[in-house]
Symmetry: C2
Subunit: 248 residues, 2 copies
DNA sequence: AAGTGGTCTAGACCACACA
DNA sequence: GTGTGGTCTAGACCACTTG
């Protein structure tokens, strides 16, 4: 028998968000924001009583904050507020989301939008045959109207019929969602490169300038590739930040 | 009352590893290795019965496999083997570990080993005053005896007395462990750059060649910076691979 | 010694997928 | 509808840190 022990704070069930621990995470995140670095949070057992939830649920919320690098835990000692505001999360975002997070206004200029055979390399990445058609969309992506990167997206044409006929403005991810496809995760490979004459002109940099090349393969929830993107970022304007953990 | 329901497989308690779920994870990982992509695992309830553990523990082990991108789960459908062998984990490794994972033999050639004032930038990264001394260790790191990257490590000198007097061969992480300091996580920033004359000579590449610049700040379990490293990797020999998730 | 986070159990209900 | 993973409870014991 499961009985929700009614408490002074009804634990935000059946409100906007789905789960109790998610609501609790948000409340704790607000609490953490008002604490100094290395300050201790209440103990798990205290939090459980305060918010009228089980300790398991508290731990779940704290784990979520820990994953976001907002708190750290030391066995036997307690849970503490993390050090820095650094720790950008490494989540799968669109170019537009990414730019807005960095405080810039995203924009776009289409270079190419057509349908071509996949070819060997792209076919392999998307797990389709080399002669299958793919939609190719090449854009100069802008930040505050200035070139930030040159982005080439390839999508299996079979999955997105009529995409090229609709307007190509706005979020590509939103359009994919309308086809019922949404990337749940992505594999990324980051390399350094230098940009040659043609691409350099589009990016408005001198030939031979260094750049970050990011190849991304977007996978749906069932682990099938649905998108393959290569982005060439100006080295003077962009970096990739993330946190890594010992072990895992 | 907690009673361990004895089962045919005693769930590897009190063997080499610490926890039941960790042992179960390893067993399941071996099972997964013998299944084809997208093949379904047994249900959580079946696994719980088979291995004589609670469903909570099974879920914990599966979550761990999911974090490693070895399986994916679909609510209402099941748990399935992931697609590719790609998905290098993004864990905090030393240069030597990293090279061995890539199948190369790591090596090292010391360029500079001394003690200097931190200065503004490095002091800020290590959260010490600019006039505090730091140990500076600059090395050309080799893969199969050929230059792979130029690595500059800075450590607060107060934390590692006598480090420079001992031999500087072998693993720096091991030496740090002897001082009781071990990085638990790290913040990394990856940028592209081009390498100038002096560094280019050390890396044995033409001046102006592109390179990956990785700045890493290693933090201990209590979120204090203990190490600051800048590595300049040859673009023709190195990349950074990782997976990103939607939301988080 | 006391208190903290870490692991684990047994059982309930909820949300979603699929036939 | 049936079965799956997702959430949640209440309570126990273990491993570790700290006064």
């Amino acid at each position: 028998m499961v009985e929700h022990t009614a408490s002074e704070k009804p634990a935000t069930r059946a409100t906007t968000d789905g789960s109790v621990y998610e609501g609790l995470r948000r409340r704790l995140q607000a609490v953490v924001a008002n604490l100094a670095a290395h300050e201790a949070l209440p103990t798990e057992r205290e939090l459980a009583e305060q918010y009228g939830v089980s300790r398991t649920t508290v731990r779940r919320a704290l784990r979520s904050l820990e994953d976001k690098r907002l708190v750290y835990r030391v066995q036997g000692a307690g849970t503490f507020v993390s050090n820095t505001t650094v720790s950008k999360s490494l989540s799968l975002t669109s170019f537009s989301e990414d730019m807005r997070e960095r405080g810039w206004r995203p924009g776009s200029r289409i270079v190419t939008a057509d349908e071509v055979p996949a070819g060997a390399e792209i076919g392999a990445d998307l797990q389709i045959a080399a002669d299958e058609p793919v939609v190719r969309l090449i854009r100069v992506r802008l930040a505050n109207d200035s070139p930030m990167c040159l982005e080439s997206v390839y999508l299996p044409a079979a999955g997105v019929p009529g995409l090229l006929e609709g307007g190509l403005e706005g979020s590509l991810y939103e359009k994919l969602a309308r086809y019922g496809e949404r990337p749940a995760r992505a594999e990324q490979v980051v390399t350094a490169t230098s940009v040659d004459g043609a691409d350099a002109a589009l990016l408005d940099i001198a030939p031979g300038s260094p750049a970050l090349r990011i190849r991304r393969i977007g996978l749906n929830r069932r682990d099938h590739p649905i998108e393959r993107t290569v982005s060439i970022y100006r080295a003077d304007r962009y970096d990739v930040s993330f946190a890594v953990l010992r072990d895992e």
